[in-house]
């Protein structure tokens, strides 16, 4: 009886205790001591959580990169990737509310970093900065990034010693109209005055090649929706062929000569939507576009089911294998007479993504040492992946040859030309690509020169590599492109490249009202853009366009646009200033 009577009380206590336990958080550690040199060895093994807003892989890092990090730092990387988890900022918000985002945080400066610093989730790196000698080589960028933070919280990524008015991209720009060159050649290299001239050519190419080798239908254009943000992402790309890039709802020209409101009926964005609409009317758009994701699209490119790519790193990466290029098949830049391709100048003060140490990190000193290593030449080579484009670790993928020039090893050639290679056991085994750094973060841009070799970190620029990739495809392309050997060379000699000086401009944080308005408006823009591309006739296209404009302005588009226009102007001022100062 006594027990029975006490039961409710006990139950209440237990429930209350459980509830309260969920609400408590721990306080950050006390001040760390100043470090001037990192230890050579770390005795205790640890696993750190890396909250990485750029990663496309979630889980513990494996393979050769994991082995290098483990050998050097006795540390495993558990990568938490909001991109993989999906759902926008859900994962970020949940972890942030819990008071611990991660031990190493890779996040954008501006709104997020400011918030983390203010909320006490980021650790001040000042005590370790004295020992971070590799990072200190880019001190201007580091100081610039931390100017307003009242401490040293973020190390900017993609730092470089290249001039801000020079492209940061190496031999290929980020954007560009890339087509299946072999099929374009079959049509007799037709001249293209402007973007829309592509459509009839693509139509002929598609009609001549209705099915791919795997028996699936071929489409000139195939779209996807995963990366849609302020707008439909694939509809922004053609604007980049004309020197524009997005800043919120503004399309800003790289040289500051034009700012377009996204939804103006004559904006480059609407022009692209019309381009896709016309293409769809001609039967050139893959009907699966509406439901597929990037991975599906990528495998379609690999199978030769798509004829046009907005980026070299999609079409060429997927399809230009050794086998295909030897047969003369592959994606190459197509010359459009009026194109003026947008190029990102080397960011004088680094990219907007930064490396941050979490305030709850167990061993911040070791993480600081790890970050510092990522900025050393060894780290830059090792932190190679598809997007970074550096060569991989010396001794594994490349070595210096007899004439002291860097040259890909057999394994390196296999990796570069066939896409993957088996890694020997002493390097950790497994496949090369699966073992590459999943951080997906460029610390020092690959186009930078390694002082030890005198050549850039990007193997694609090495003369030894250029000689290696002479294929029927590249020879044919070069013959019809005034003898240019790389895309960049062609664009620069024809004055078709518009470099936006890298001013490391980060737009100030949206006020929460602007943010709420923006999120509602962008949902409408993305929704209607897709409907417009697949509209059944021109009348429907136009009525959807005006409906989109009314809906968007009803939800506060103009207010957000005004905010973005001010930012675009500020960005241009920053670009001009940096070009004058460092260009």
């Amino acid at each position: 009886m006594k027990l029975v009577r006490k039961m409710p009380v006990v139950a209440v206590a237990v429930v209350a205790a459980t509830m309260l336990a969920g609400c408590t958080g721990s306080e950050p550690d006390a001040e760390a001591k100043v470090v001037t040199e990192f230890p050579e060895e770390w005795s205790e093994p640890i696993t750190i959580d890396v909250f990485d807003s750029l990663a496309n892989y979630m889980g513990v890092q494996e393979g050769w990169f994991a082995k290098i990090v483990e050998d050097k730092f006795n540390m495993k990387l558990n990568i938490i990737a909001p991109n993989v988890a999906g759902g926008g900022d859900t994962l970020y918000n949940t972890r942030v509310s819990a008071g611990d985002l991660g031990d190493l945080i890779i996040v954008d400066r501006g709104t997020k970093l400011d918030e983390l610093v203010e909320g006490g989730l980021a650790a001040d790196m000042t005590p370790y900065y004295g020992a971070m000698t590799n990072v200190a080589a880019y001190d201007t960028a580091v100081q610039h990034a931390n100017e307003s933070l009242g401490g040293l919280y973020g190390i900017p990524t993609s730092v470089s010693s290249i001039k801000p008015t020079e492209p940061s991209e190496g031999i290929d720009p980020t954007f560009g109209p890339f087509v299946r060159w072999d099929l374009y050649a079959d049509q007799g290299y037709p001249e293209l005055g402007t973007l829309e001239d592509l459509l009839p050519v693509l139509k002929k190419m598609q009609d001549a090649n209705p099915t791919a080798d795997n028996g699936e239908p071929v489409y000139a254009l195939s779209l996807f929706k995963d990366w849609d943000g302020n707008m439909m992402v694939t509809a922004k790309q053609p604007a980049c062929f004309y020197g524009y890039d997005e800043l919120g709802f503004v399309l800003a020209k790289a040289d500051g000569s034009d700012y377009q409101s996204l939804l103006d009926s004559d904006s480059e964005y609407i022009r692209s939507l019309k381009f896709y609409f016309d293409a769809n009317q001609m039967g050139l758009v893959d009907p699966e576009s509406t439901t597929q994701n990037y991975d599906t699209l990528f495998s379609k490119f690999q199978n030769g089911q798509v004829l046009f790519s907005w980026w070299p790193w999609l079409g060429q990466t997927a399809f230009n294998t050794a086998e295909n290029t030897a047969a003369g098949k592959g994606f190459e830049l197509v010359p459009i007479d009026d194109q003026e391709i947008f190029s990102y100048g080397a960011e004088a003060y680094g990219a907007k993504t930064e490396m941050v140490i979490g305030s709850q990190a167990e061993d911040p000193e070791r993480i600081a040492a790890f970050i510092d290593w990522l900025y050393s030449a060894e780290g830059v080579y090792a932190n190679a992946n598809q997007t970074a484009g550096t060569a991989g670790p010396e001794g594994l993928t490349w070595e210096l040859n007899a004439s002291n020039e860097p040259e890909l090893t057999e394994l390196g050639q296999q990796m570069a030309l066939e896409g993957d290679a088996a890694v020997p056991e002493e390097w950790g085994g497994g496949e090369y690509v699966a073992g590459a750094s999943a951080l997906n973060t460029t610390t020092v841009v690959a186009a930078d020169v390694d002082p030890a070799t005198g050549f850039s970190f990007n193997y694609k620029t090495w003369p030894t590599y250029q000689a290696l990739v002479q294929t029927p495809l590249s020879e044919d392309w070069s013959a019809h492109m005034d003898g240019a050997t790389t895309t960049m060379e062609y664009l620069r000699s024809n004055d078709q490249l518009l470099v936006a000086p890298g001013a490391s401009f980060a737009a100030p944080a949206d006020s929460s009202e602007i943010e709420a308005l923006r999120n509602q408006v962008k949902a409408i823009i993305v929704q209607y853009s897709w409907q417009m591309v697949f509209a059944k006739d021109e009348a429907e296209f136009n009525s959807l366009l005006s409906e989109m404009q009314t809906q968007a302005s009803g939800l506060g588009y103009d207010k957000v646009l005004e905010f973005d226009m001010t930012n675009a102007q500020a960005q241009d001022d920053a670009r001009k200033a940096v070009a004058a100062e460092l260009g």
Binding site: P8, W530, L555
Partner: protein, 326 residues
């Protein structure tokens, strides 16, 4: 086990308290105290899960930023509510969302006769193996998550799915039909998917009720010359009505809770306008759009509509039956 069995006969008499006449009953106050303590855990649970979350409404008065916590976020008063009512487009959007919510819910309620009919029909099947097979097959979808249902839907109905492949290959259509990415009949197709998923599960309760029907009713009806369909019409269905009414009332109580998983997985640019229900709308604003405070303000709408519905039903009950629920 054995030890207990052996000891039990001896132990029993000793442990029985000596009977010393009628036990004095506890004073009434004390008794009700015990009763109160007995229900206390449930009161606590109700408080924690039904009233405590209402505290979350204060988030709608702040400009909440997770990294800064509530105390570090700025107090903005009624800014979000003003924003909701300030523009006609915004109001129209919320109106459309409520319309979607109610339409899909009412279609669901209308479809609630289907499990009843299905159970009645299934009951008439005489071959046990067939009956069991049908019941198992129709119950299974209930245990599949909506994500997997979408995978099934995608492999069947996408533009390269089975159905389109068959249609195109057989020459019935020239271009693949857009089943998933179209704005046609969204409410109906959503209701149909949820019927497919829950039909067998919903029928279980009716099958149980059928087995509880007094067999003498059937016997006397048969003696009166009733045929098979007359038995169904005059005995089975009327006997199931009380169960049906209870379930109907419960589903009306859940009018606004049509969940979001189903709509979340099926949503795309083409069907979003007619598929976005209240729960999904709140999720899209709060989680995908990262405006947690605005989402809270919209979410409060659900409580307001629920309270309005409750009073409406209460009023009707008062007028029709002369007694009210609250």
């Amino acid at each position: 086990m054995t030890a207990v069995q052996v000891r039990a006969p001896h132990a029993a008499p000793e442990s029985t308290p000596p009977i010393t006449g009628p036990r004095p009953s506890n004073p009434p106050r004390r008794k009700s105290m015990v009763m109160l303590l007995c229900i206390a855990p449930f009161l606590v649970l109700i408080f924690l899960f039904s009233y405590f979350p209402l505290f979350g409404w204060v988030y709608s008065l702040y400009d909440y930023k997770p990294a800064l916590g509530l105390s570090g976020s700025e107090f903005v008063g009624l800014q979000w509510f003003q924003m909701l009512v300030s523009s006609p487009t915004q109001l129209a959007q919320i109106g459309q969302v409520l319309l979607n919510t109610l339409a899909i819910s009412f279609l669901g309620i209308a479809a609630s006769v289907l499990p009843l009919g299905f159970a009645v029909m299934l009951n008439e099947v005489k071959a046990p193996w067939f009956k069991n097979a049908v019941q198992t097959l129709t119950t299974l979808p209930n245990f599949i998550s909506w994500v997997l249902v979408y995978v099934i839907a995608f492999s069947l109905f996408s533009s390269s799915g089975l159905v389109n492949d068959v249609l195109v290959d057989s020459g019935l259509v020239t271009a693949p039909l857009k089943f998933l990415d179209s704005d046609q009949h969204v409410w109906l197709s959503m209701a149909a998917w949820s019927v497919w998923k829950t039909l067998g599960w919903g029928a279980i309760i009716y099958l149980a009720a059928i087995s509880g029907i007094d067999q003498s009713l059937y016997e006397s009806a048969r003696i009166d010359g009733a045929g098979r369909f007359q038995l169904m019409r005059y005995i089975t269905v009327p006997q199931l009505m009380p169960t049906y009414i209870v379930l109907l009332l419960l589903s009306i109580a859940n009018l606004l809770n049509n969940g979001m998983e189903q709509y979340y997985v099926f949503q795309n640019a083409f069907n979003k306008e007619h598929l976005q229900v209240l729960d999904l709308y709140v999720y899209n604003i709060g989680m995908t759009g990262n405006s947690l405070s605005l989402a809270t303000a919209v979410g409060m709408l659900k409580s307001l509509v629920s309270v309005a519905l409750l009073f409406a039903v209460n009023g009707i009950a008062k007028r029709v039956r002369g007694e009210s629920i609250v």
